[in-house]
């Protein structure tokens, strides 16, 4: 099966849903949207099973002929172990989230449009990961950005814009403005990252004369290029990755992106799109392997973001915001891993994170639904009694992200921490601290939502329906067991995932004595268990609602305010100044226009609207013309 089928199916779904929405009454749009993603998943699965050690490279057409001397850039798809894995994650998790959305979005008036956008996103994301050149990857990169923008601002007029109650509609309007602002923020902050991506592409083309990834991979190791050039190109690409993955300093759009519907948060802002930065760096491993400084930057950006996200998540009150800052933090882990050239560990965490974070978001969505759009964890509690199935699923997610043994996060986080230990002890300490904080804030999330007294306002919350339970169950199983894909040697495993990915991406194995490995693992587990116990102790003392760090954490270390002061306020001041100038220019021009319009006003009096006055004009005009000719003829005759 050709590779182009992968993005083609969801793209057809998108075209049908956006062009002929009336053909799909009821929930038909949701089923069509899910079916196209399932078709892509089947293709991805078939290609995965039929994979050999040589990557598949299928050229579609010549895209930019004679881009350089005698060099054409083709549009084509490239399937190696890395892109096959990404395609499986995108279509697999994507399909589950589509099915979930059929129920979750079932009562939304814009149901069909939602699935059109979701299909568009999946198609663009597949183009991103399958692209055989940076420009084509950029097409997908921008496409997912557009889809993200459209879906964050999906409720751009609020959720109750059709309500007859005036107060409800007013609240809905305010909510709509906030949603639209969140969407704009994501779009604009991503522009900064995209500029970095483009500059990186320009520089790579200048240095190597090609942007095709297989060609670059073959050309880079032997080329005589100044290290500074490679370092700079890698730093530019890092800026792109930072923008897309919500890393410091372009991180503040990601928590705001939770304004979108919950399935969007699960698919785009947890499992797939935000990991595109990790994918970009892993895909460019042949460059980063030659750029030690840029790689260190990647690792430290990741480490600091992991810390930032974890600290900000400690005292959030919105059920989705906690998960959003957690995503920022976990993405930081992945950046840390790929920055330390532990690509396999980073991508493995990407995989397990896709499972457990999608699971956590979807179970949060189920709770939000059951409580009639309530998102404040202080008005939840005791949901275990009402939603036993969702509770078990969410618990699996919490255990996975906290790094409790046998759950998937344990294996992937352990691999990252081991890599950090061998390369940079300081980063290891940061990583271990973040592991402790992660376990604590997820424990806080768990106890506040699921345990204790019910503090909600809905009399009898209901358990989710089957369409929501099935994806939750599958994701819970994956989050629990996914870690066994890559059991390390000292635990009796065979590094199966490392070996698989190692066929495409070089795996820099860190040789650590088994005793040290055991110690590292014990420390990581102690951090996870300690964090959960800390949360439990606070829960017992009933002081969990106000987490540590107080206002500093709830305001996400005031980063938004810092940006507002540094960039927002000066920009607004400049804009207001320009507005005054503009009004001056406008006023002058308007004055000139009025002055020249005045004589015109005199002529317009003639246009009286009285038919008989026109008749007189016609008569006089005709008489004038006739008289002129008469005089001329007589004069000529004389």
């Amino acid at each position: 099966m050709p590779l182009y089928l992968l993005p083609l199916f969801p793209l057809i779904g998108f075209a049908l849903l956006i062009l002929f929405p009336r053909l799909f009454p009821g929930r038909a749009a949701g089923w069509l949207g899910s079916a196209t993603v399932l078709a892509s998943f089947v293709v991805a699965g078939a290609r995965y099973l039929g994979q050999t050690d040589t990557p598949a490279h299928e050229v579609l057409w010549t895209w930019l002929p004679n881009m350089a001397l005698n060099a054409n850039l083709s549009a084509g798809f490239y399937l190696d172990q890395l892109s096959a894995l990404m395609a499986l994650i995108i279509t697999g998790v994507g399909f589950l989230i589509h099915v979930y959305s059929v129920s979750y979005m079932g009562h939304d008036p814009k149901f069909t449009r939602f699935f059109a956008f979701m299909n568009f996103f999946v198609a663009m994301m597949l183009i991103l990961v399958l692209a055989d050149s940076y420009p084509l990857m950029f097409v997908g990169w921008e496409g997912v950005g557009t889809a993200s923008y459209l879906l964050i601002g999906f409720w751009f007029s609020g959720r109750n814009s059709e309500a007859s109650d005036k107060d409800l509609r007013g609240a809905s309007d305010r909510e709509g403005v906030a949603n639209s602002n969140a969407a704009r923020k994501a779009f604009i902050m991503n522009r900064i990252g995209d500029l970095g991506f483009m500059l990186g592409m320009f520089l790579l083309f200048k240095l190597y004369g090609t942007l095709s990834i297989p060609e670059l991979a073959a050309r880079v190791p032997g080329a005589q290029v100044a290290t500074a050039g490679i370092e700079l190109a890698c730093l530019f690409l890092l800026v792109g990755a930072i923008g897309k993955s919500g890393q410091l300093p372009l991180t503040t759009w990601l928590p705001d992106a939770m304004a979108g519907p919950t399935p969007v948060s699960a698919l785009i802002h947890a499992a797939t799109m935000v990991t595109a930065g990790v994918y970009l760096i892993t895909r460019s491993h042949f460059l980063y392997d030659l750029a030690p400084v840029a790689s260190t930057w990647v690792a430290w950006v990741g480490g600091l973001t992991a810390l930032y996200g974890a600290l900000s998540a400690l005292n959030q009150h919105d059920i989705k915001k906690i998960l959003a800052y957690s995503t920022v933090s976990q993405l930081g882990y992945m950046f840390m891993a790929v920055g330390l050239h532990a690509y396999s560990a980073g991508v493995f965490h990407l995989l397990t994170h896709a499972f457990f974070k999608a699971l956590l978001f979807l179970s949060a969505g189920a709770v939000i639904h059951a409580l009639h759009e309530e998102q404040d964890v202080r008005a939840m509690g005791g949901m275990r009694k009402f939603m036993p199935f969702t509770h078990i699923a969410a618990l699996m997610g919490v255990l996975a992200i906290s790094g409790i043994p046998i759950w998937s996060g344990f294996f992937s986080k352990d691999a990252i921490l081991a890599a950090a230990y061998t390369s940079s002890p300081l980063l290891y300490v940061v990583g271990l601290g973040v592991a402790l904080l992660t376990a604590f804030y997820m424990g806080r999330w768990y106890f506040l939502v699921w345990r204790g007294e019910y503090r909600g306002h809905v009399p009898h919350p209901h358990e989710a329906d089957g369409l929501i339970k099935v994806p939750l169950g599958i994701l819970a199983a994956l989050a629990t067991l996914g870690g066994f894909l890559n059991v390390p040697a000292f635990l009796g495993g065979g590094h199966a995932f490392d070996a698989y990915l190692g066929r495409a991406i070089p795996v820099h194995l860190h040789e650590i004595p088994a005793a040290t490995e055991w110690l590292l693992t014990l420390l990581a587990v102690a951090a996870g268990v300690g964090g959960l116990l800390w949360a439990l102790a606070e829960h017992r003392r009933r002081s969990l609602a106000d987490g540590p760090l107080g206002q500093i954490s709830s305001n996400a270390l005031y980063l938004d305010r810092v940006y507002d002061g540094l960039i927002g306020a000066p920009s607004r001041a400049i804009a207001e100044g320009l507005d005054v100038v503009d009004r001056g220019v406008d006023g002058t021009l308007a004055g000139i226009a009025r002055t020249s319009a005045a004589p015109g006003g005199l002529f317009s009096l003639w246009q009286s609207g009285f038919v008989r006055a026109y008749a007189v004009s016609m008569l006089l005009g005709t008489a004038l013309i006739l008289g002129y000719w008469a005089i001329k003829t007589i004069g000529g005759g004389a």
Binding site: F603, S604, L605, W606, Q607, S608, G609, F610, V611, R612, A615, V616, L619
Partner: protein, 100 residues
């Protein structure tokens, strides 16, 4: 045979009557009638000249004018009727909506 000048004089008279009608009458129907009168004054002049010169070209023009006038009547009356239905008046001074 009466001299051509008589016909032209009659034509001029008819034309003047029509013109005064257009200028003085307020009812759309009367204005319309006056316009028809002016058209036919022109027709008369054309026929008279055709006879004087022994040339049929002018008579052809008269046929065209008559056809045109018929078409104009059909459309013009329809317009007047629909204006009347909408405004309850055919006074052309009231229909000053296109005032500049």
């Amino acid at each position: 045979m009466a001299p051509t000048a008589y016909y032209i004089a009659l034509s001029g008279l008819l034309f003047a009557i029509g013109m005064i009608g257009v200028l003085t009458r307020r009812t759309a129907i009367m204005v319309f009638l006056s316009v028809e009168l002016m058209l036919n004054a022109a027709n008369l002049a054309l026929v008279a000249f055709a006879r004087a010169w022994g040339d049929l070209t002018a008579q052809t023009a008269v046929f065209i004018v008559m056809t045109l006038a018929a078409a104009e009547v059909a459309i013009g009356l329809a317009i007047i009727v629909s204006i009347f239905r909408k405004r309850e008046t055919t006074n052309v001074d009231d229909l000053a909506g296109l005032k500049g």
